[in-house]
Chain length 92, copies 2
DNA sequence: CCACTATTTAGCGTGTATGCTAAATGTCAG
DNA sequence: CTGACATTTAGCATACACGCTAAATAGTGG
């Protein structure tokens, strides 16, 4: 699965977009628990969404004591912008 | 289904992204047949991909004789850029 | 070590996406 | 009007995404 594929697939689900937006708004980092609390979903459901984001390179995580802190990878989102740029360049 | 949902879902499939890129490269318009020829898929498969793009507002079509010509809606792609812009604005 | 907290992994059900083939629709050419 | 062309609609199979619950893992505090 190439990078575009992974990133666009990850962004396709509203829950995953909301995770990114909220994390960004919160400064770029949130614990797994804080992320899970945003939703009425069962925790494992959110865990999987987070994993999709992470394997797309849009998040990474770090252990802090007994909790896991996820960090947003803003650079990775640039991939989307790069893709969009093709449509601004007028073809010849 | 809101606009973001529709657009991001439409962009999630590689075939659909390729349709958009190729149409853009070709100047913004292509007949249904020309689009279908890009792929080894059966025509109806491509037809459905095109419909997903159209119902997301990323394409529109027009009849021209016995063929249908699809046009890319570049403006609609700006929605994605708008969404991405949230990540450039540093939160306070 | 035990109990508790934080979170993931495993495994299952269901609905939707995506591929196919066959049939229908619409348009033009003679 | 008829036949051929261009394309879609209908309907079916299969795979995967996404929800759930139950169990496992990892770290902390006493």
């Amino acid at each position: 699965m190439d990078a575009y594929e992974a990133v666009f697939t990850a962004l396709a689900h509203p829950v995953r977009r909301r995770i990114l937006l909220t994390m960004n708004f919160e400064g770029g980092s949130m614990s797994a628990g804080a992320i899970a609390e945003m939703f009425e979903h069962a925790w494992p459901t959110t865990t999987r969404h987070v994993q999709v984001l992470e394997s797309a390179g849009l998040l990474r995580h770090e252990r802090q004591g007994r909790s896991r802190v996820y960090h947003i990878e803003r650079k990775r989102l640039e991939l989307v912008r790069d893709w969009l740029d093709w449509f601004s360049k007028v073809p010849y």
